[in-house]
């Protein structure tokens, strides 16, 4: 692959910043030598299987382990009562939020194995451990659980009805938190003056993240040292260590190691502290033997945290020229049967503040009720809150444009924040540091040949097909997160990131990163940053992550933060290495360290040809025979922690074109154009891959994926790949990726992040295109996924296929 044409990046060093170098991590994966948790075998290891509730809501009357314990190979059967006996705590919520009038988030107990009641299909009721997996599976069938089945509440609208079934006895209205943001009075006042009000009611469909590697966990306990080890499929091993050690199992931090080796995709699904992690760690100590649990895919469907699941009413006030005066949004968000690690934060702090989009809307008010239901806990999934916000805003803008008869690009332009207005303070908390959304839009319209669309539509019509074009602009808040802001928003911890650069005596470098690589290409991207800064080839740089015994405390990977925050920590660490190197070189060259310059791998005395190479300085640092030790320490290893001062704000414009067969309702996605402002690009090839992959995941939400529960029984109807439609290779069009860059102004790299923007922009873009194709039928919205059945029904309800060929 050549350097992707549209992505900016200046290359001077073939393994430095801006180079599309091939990935260092590829070899082990291509040869089948990855090391995923399921691949790990420890001596004397046992296998564990969870018995999970078949009911959405039930009282556990009794659990009879006897038959299971008597089966061949069974080592133990553990239940919620055993957790209680051992004093094991519940799973903590790490990011509760503050509701209206200062009301706290309700945080009901979340035992790792159910105690007394089960609250969703899949809630764990027992853990069966045996010598082999087959034995554990067989014995799990023999655990007899008697349930007193209770009525379940499944959908969010049902959950808030008066008299609804309560998921928790002490939370009779099922409301976890009732949250608001923005100026209600200013918003109401603006609506009174509006020339036009556009309205929309929509559902943001519930999704299952489905990274291709199912979750897995192995607990081990070393009696001789009193040391616990957990191997887990996690995006943030240090946070698992902190949450599990401190809040659940009461293991001192110096006695707990968490290892997250190669991880097969995360997308947020693997950034929570899960019950299974605590159970295997606890069981391993009880047994004195390692315990391994590997999730089946169908088990993943009912135990991985789900994403999205909002029901929203929104209104926009406009003046007679299509200027946005105010926006009012009311959302009910599903939390599921317990709070997952970040659950309440996603539909609130990561949603409301993004409703400003890239527009100058002066008044915004948003209220969100997060509610409990008898479904799997809901938490972050790629984009997390920001795709939902973008979907509301960009659908509403399209509705307004159609109602006012203004071109959809034009209405966006009229309301867009001009590039010279940055930094820009929105009415909903955020200060955007940089951006040029108008520039992104101009490029996207050109790349998609927006003006040529009518001719293409006519050509489709001649074939009996309905063609539509959809546009969306977006902004996202990435680089999670400035600790001082996040703490005001409720997070229980800091959100900085760490990096350490260890220079070996021979000049090669090992880098220890607090972020975690599970597909994003960190081993390459971070090596490129070090290569650029220290002028050494990337092949001499190793990136280490995912082991709390090797790597200093770090916060892991989520929220498109690894480059903007982790990369900035790495930048600072290389600054320190250079500064220390200058001192060493000054000593070697008998000069003042203020006179030493570092460039192109050489430390030189300014204005002279006297110089020492990086390798010579590294060697000297480890043979300090004549060092003035009182002012110069031996060694060359530096660590940095970086806490951002603001979020980063990638933004952009996406355009999709679809063709619909009115006879079948099948939507074919013909083209997808992105122009994104992501700040400095380190590796254009990797950026292209991240954006394309994200877009296709968002296309999955728009056209294919739907997590469906039976509304009465709470049974998951789309509980396997047979029923949950994952995008396949023949579903996706060519995605054209281009960048339009303004640099982040507050981090040393100038990077903003690119991991989530695909899923943030694409659902709105694709649905806007589908609605455009159906607009002549009077359709102004269609819920996701725009499946053939749903589209066919919309067409037929609007008057049938006969009316379509206009």
């Amino acid at each position: 692959m050549n350097h992707p044409a549209g992505i900016e990046g200046a290359v001077t060093n073939p393994t430095g910043i801006g180079a599309s170098m091939r990935r260092k991590e590829d070899m082990r994966f291509l040869m089948g030598r990855g090391n995923y948790v399921a691949d790990i075998k420890l001596p004397d290891m046992t296998a564990g299987v969870f018995v999970r509730s078949p009911h959405a809501h039930a009282r556990i009357v009794s659990i009879d382990k006897k038959a299971a314990l008597a089966m061949p190979g069974v080592v133990d059967v553990l239940t919620g009562e055993d957790l209680k006996t051992d004093g094991v705590g519940g799973l903590p919520c790490a990011w509760p939020v503050v509701g209206k009038g200062g009301a706290p988030t309700k945080e009901p107990a979340h035992p790792a194995i159910a105690q007394g009641k089960v609250r969703y299909v899949g809630d764990a009721v027992a853990f069966v451990i045996a010598e082999s997996l087959a034995q554990a599976r067989n014995a799990a069938e023999a655990v007899v659980v008697e349930y007193d089945v209770l009525p379940a509440v499944v959908g969010v609208l049902d959950a808030i009805k008066p008299g609804a079934v309560a998921v928790f006895d002490d939370i009779p209205d099922n409301v976890c938190v009732d949250w608001e943001l923005g100026d209600k009075h200013a918003t109401e006042a603006a609506f009174k003056k509006a020339a036009h009000i556009a309205r929309i009611s929509l559902v943001n469909n519930r999704l299952v993240g489905n990274p291709m590697e199912p979750r897995a966990a192995i607990g081990a306990f070393d009696r001789s040292r009193g040391q616990h080890t957990l191997y887990t499929t996690s995006q943030f091993p240090h946070i698992v260590k902190l949450l599990m050690g401190n809040f659940v199992l009461n293991i001192p931090q110096h006695k707990l190691r968490v290892v997250s080796p190669d991880v097969g995709g995360g997308f947020g699904v693997k950034q929570f502290h899960y019950a299974e992690e605590a159970v295997v760690t606890w069981a391993a100590k009880r047994l004195g033997r390692p315990v391994k649990w590997v999730c089946d895919r169908s088990e993943g469907f009912i135990s991985d945290a789900h994403g999205r699941d909002h029901v929203t009413e929104a209104e926009m006030a406009l003046d007679e020229n299509g200027k946005f005066l105010a926006l009012k949004v009311s959302t009910i968000a599903n939390m599921g049967g317990y709070l997952s690690t970040f659950g309440p934060n996603i539909p609130t702090n990561l949603y409301g503040p993004l409703l400003a989009g890239v527009y100058t809307t002066p008044a915004i008010y948003c209220e969100v009720k997060a509610v409990f239901t008898n479904t799997v806990p809901v938490d972050a999934y790629r984009g997390a809150g920001r795709p939902e916000a973008t979907f509301v805003l960009e659908r509403l803008v399209d509705v307004a444009a159609s109602e006012l008869g203004i071109d959809k690009a034009e209405i966006r332009r009229r309301n867009m924040i001009p590039s010279n207005a940055y930094p820009y303070q929105t009415p909903v908390m955020m200060e955007y540091d940089s951006g040029d959304p108008g520039g992104c839009l101009t490029k996207a319209l050109a790349n998609a040949d927006w003006n040529g669309f009518p001719a293409r539509k006519a050509a489709s019509a001649a074939k009996g097909k309905l063609r539509g074009i959809g546009l969306c602009t977006y902004v996202e808040a990435c680089g999670l997160a400035p600790s001082r802001i996040a703490i005001r928003l409720g997070v229980r911890g800091g959100l900085f990131e760490s990096a350490a650069v260890r220079v070996h005596p021979t000049g090669q470098v090992t880098v220890l990163m607090g972020s975690h690589n599970h597909g994003q290409g960190h081993e390459t991207t971070f090596a490129q940053i070090v290569s650029e800064r220290l002028s050494i080839p990337a092949e001499n740089i190793e990136i280490v992550f995912g082991d709390t015994d090797k790597v200093q405390f770090g916060l892991g990977t989520y929220g498109s933060r690894s480059l903007a925050v982790g990369g900035s920590a790495l930048w600072k660490a290389t600054d320190k290495v250079i500064a220390k190197g200058k001192k060493i070189a000054a000593h070697m060259l008998e000069a003042a360290d203020t006179d030493i310059e570092f460039a192109d791998g050489m430390f030189s005395v300014a204005g002279t040809d006297r110089a020492k190479s990086f390798a010579e300085v590294a060697l000297s640092a480890h043979f300090p025979v004549d060092y003035p030790l009182e002012i110069l320490e031996p060694g060359l290893e530096e660590q940095a922690f970086y806490d951002p001062v603001n979020f980063t704000f990638p933004c952009g414009a996406h355009i999709a074109e679809v063709e619909i067969d009115p006879e079948t309702g099948v939507v074919e996605l013909l083209s997808y154009v992105c122009v994104d402002d992501i700040g400095t690009v380190i590796n254009p090839m990797i950026v292209d891959g991240q954006i394309t992959g994200g877009v296709v995941q968002g296309v999955g939400q728009a056209l294919y994926e739907d997590c469906v529960y039976d509304p009465e029984s709470g049974q998951l109807l789309s509980g396997s790949f047979m029923d949950y439609c994952m995008p396949r290779a023949d579903h996706v069009p060519k995605v054209s990726v281009e960048t339009h860059i303004t640099k982040c102004t507050h981090n040393p790299l100038g990077s903003k992040g690119c991991g989530e923007l695909g899923t943030i922009g694409s659902p709105a873009t694709v649905i806007n295109a589908v609605v455009d194709a159906l607009s002549h039928l009077g359709v102004n919205h269609i819920d996701m996924p725009a499946s053939p059945h749903r589209v066919w029904r919309v067409i037929n309800e609007a008057g049938g296929a006969a009316r379509v060929a206009q």
Binding site: M1, M31, G32, G34, A134, G264, F267, T692, G693, V696
Partner: protein, 157 residues
């Protein structure tokens, strides 16, 4: 029962139960963990290996049926000296992998597909790997990899 087959060019004998699946046997009994398990409904293709040169989902193949067969897993694709198969090389060059979990199955499917369709169009390449899920890449670079790998396989032949 004891079965004998050829695995990545070497004869092996392994004791299997009647219900053992090939995926579990190569992973657990023969220690080759490059073959992955991504689902339990035979949908994802992470487990694809070759049996007598044809791609097969090893999660849905009973090990006892392999007596005398030639099985190749991802570990057997590169040359013994470590030189990548042209399809593996193409995935590297075209950035056809991110997390790497789907990659072994994807590459094994692609090799079989390209051996039967040495000069595929993008639509044919996409259809050829339709039985393999990838959640990371959005498939675009995988399709490019399959086409480039097929071209390189033609040259090698």
């Amino acid at each position: 029962m004891l079965i004998q087959f050829v695995l990545n060019g070497k004869p092996v004998a392994v004791d299997v139960a009647a219900y053992d699946l090939l995926a579990d046997v190569v992973r657990e009994k023969l220690g080759l963990t490059g073959t992955h398990i991504g689902c339990d409904t035979s949908q994802c293709g992470a487990c694809v290996v070759h049996i007598d040169g044809r791609s097969v989902k090893s999660c849905s193949t009973l090990a006892v049926t392999l007596e005398g067969a030639k099985v190749t897993t991802i570990e057997g694709l590169a040359s013994p000296s470590g030189q990548l198969h042209p399809m593996q090389q193409a995935f590297h060059e075209q950035h056809g992998l991110q997390c790497g979990f789907c990659t072994p199955g994807m590459v094994m499917s692609a090799v079989d597909f390209a051996s039967r369709n040495p000069n595929p169009t993008p639509a044919e390449a996409a259809a050829g790997i339709e039985g393999n899920f990838c959640r990371c890449t959005g498939y675009q670079n995988i399709v490019k990899s399959v086409i480039a790998g097929a071209a390189a396989m033609r040259v090698v032949k």
